[in-house]
Symmetry: C2
Subunit: 299 residues, 2 copies
């Protein structure tokens, strides 16, 4: 039981919480997990960004006139710093470049059928190597978190993935990697359209964001999907704070987990993008998981 976890405050908090949760009716035992940086590695860049960049390069290959425009220019020149700067500016309150990036990404998949999109994501995730960990992306999940998901399910929990990443990007691999069935994956999505034909019709991506499942949208999407307030939530970044705050019940056990990336030898060490979350963890008494101290193994 939790053999990949070292004895310590985090493991103790988890096992005590699960013991207490046995008193709660099983259908209320809802656990919600962020994905990037919580269930799998998000450095040196989010896995989905690699998928998107390859698509933008393919688009620029076909349309040379786009190579002088963002975001195709940065993708074509492999200028990761441009993407990082746009995201950093966004978190600093400057959205000058973000609309161009979002539009480029949404355009890249416009008109693609959801079943085709999943097949592309599946192919990418199962065959592409992580640039520094030297293993396929589907093997970049954290073993202790995979074990935690299974431990929760063994104790009657339903485990959801509430990620800022793309819902249909994660679904094809969620069962195999995490034991989480596709209907329990919550994430961001483009607006979709349904086009009828004689073979059951096709649902296609439209070049308009439906919602970005991050920040205050996370509690909304968890409610919309489950109709419940979770007993447990786990995240690692500022965008997870509202989901963790929402995980609150009077008279029922709750557990809020925050993964701290403090292990440069086995994974990465960073707190950028998690400053507010770490501060809130301290104030609200959340359980901080130290990758360095709390996990026997990482992958």
């Amino acid at each position: 039981m939790l053999t990949t976890w070292r004895d310590g405050a985090a493991k103790k908090a988890i096992t005590e919480f699960v013991e207490q949760a046995a008193e709660v009716p099983a259908d209320e035992r809802v656990a919600a997990f962020d994905n990037d940086g919580t269930l799998w590695c998000e450095k040196p860049a989010p896995i989905q960004l690699d998928f998107i960049l390859r698509r933008l390069v393919a688009v620029a290959d076909e349309s040379p006139e786009l190579r002088s425009r963002q975001p195709w220019k940065a993708a074509y020149e492999n200028d990761l710093a441009w993407f990082e700067a746009v995201v950093a500016a966004h978190y600093a309150g400057d959205d000058t470049q973000l609309p161009a990036l979002a539009a480029g990404i949404l355009e890249a998949y416009s008109g693609v059928g959801v079943e085709d999109f999943e097949a592309q994501a599946n192919e990418f995730l199962t065959t592409t190597q992580h640039p520094t960990l030297r293993r396929p992306y589907v093997q970049c999940a954290y073993a202790p978190m995979v074990e935690l998901l299974a431990y929760l399910r063994d104790n009657g929990f339903t485990t959801y993935i509430a990620s800022g990443g793309g819902r249909d990007f994660m679904r094809p691999i969620s069962q195999a990697v995490y034991g989480v069935p596709r209907e329990q994956v919550i994430g961001s999505t483009a607006t979709l359209s349904y086009e009828d034909d004689e073979h059951g019709g096709t649902i296609r991506h439209q070049p308009v964001l439906d919602y970005l499942d991050d920040g205050p949208e996370k509690p909304i999407r968890i409610w919309s999907r489950t109709g419940r307030r979770p007993l447990l939530a786990a995240g690692n970044a500022n965008g997870d704070v509202p989901m963790l705050r929402f995980t609150h019940h009077t008279g029922k056990p709750t557990l809020r987990l925050l993964v701290l990336h403090d292990d440069p030898d086995r994974e990465f060490a960073y707190t950028t993008g998690a400053e507010q979350a770490l501060d809130q963890a301290h104030r609200d008494g959340w359980t901080v998981i130290s990758i360095r101290d709390d996990w026997h193994t990482v992958f």
Copy 2:
């Protein structure tokens, strides 16, 4: 097994389909049901309309100036014909009045927390009598459809409610009435907001429609929630046609069910709003369920 169903083509089609579906992996056995007119009675008016009218009357009670404006005027004067005319005009392509009706309904719940809203819906559905059937609304579900839902689940299906009605309106009673857990209820919803506080915060209705789960939106919402194309879908109206058309697989069994309201003695007899669906059922070979002929009992 299906004791409330009379022997006949519909019952035969169902049992044969379920037998064939045993060959399909259990996690692909997804069944989607419309609610109003498919799982419970929608005449003389949809059950949720009664709930909305009472709320509009309460608003008009507090704000006399609204009593001369639609939709509060019609609600206050119990002028059901106005509501019927707006909906009929909508289906005839005339949306002159629909925005006022939609705005009135959305305004009526603006700012209400989702947990409060559910408590109000639950109270209404469990305590209000159907105007002609003389039984509480929660007892207006069709017994043969409730038995069908259970029969499907006994055979490894997951049963979803994909209704044009309000998701959060149905959720509080879906388990007790249909055996369908709240996370398997798909329906229409207003846009929601999340407001943080020291007690887990509140998700509130905003006066803007998020989506109306009807027509081509039904396949989109089923996909978004389940990540799957159903093996079985059941409906009764034109708005269910895309969901039934979407229920199509090559090399796997499928079943498309259309409930025909042809029993004026035990329920109601009407085809208004189902003309296109009945026509499509004939062309696509869907299974039409005659309430008069196929069901031993209705409620």
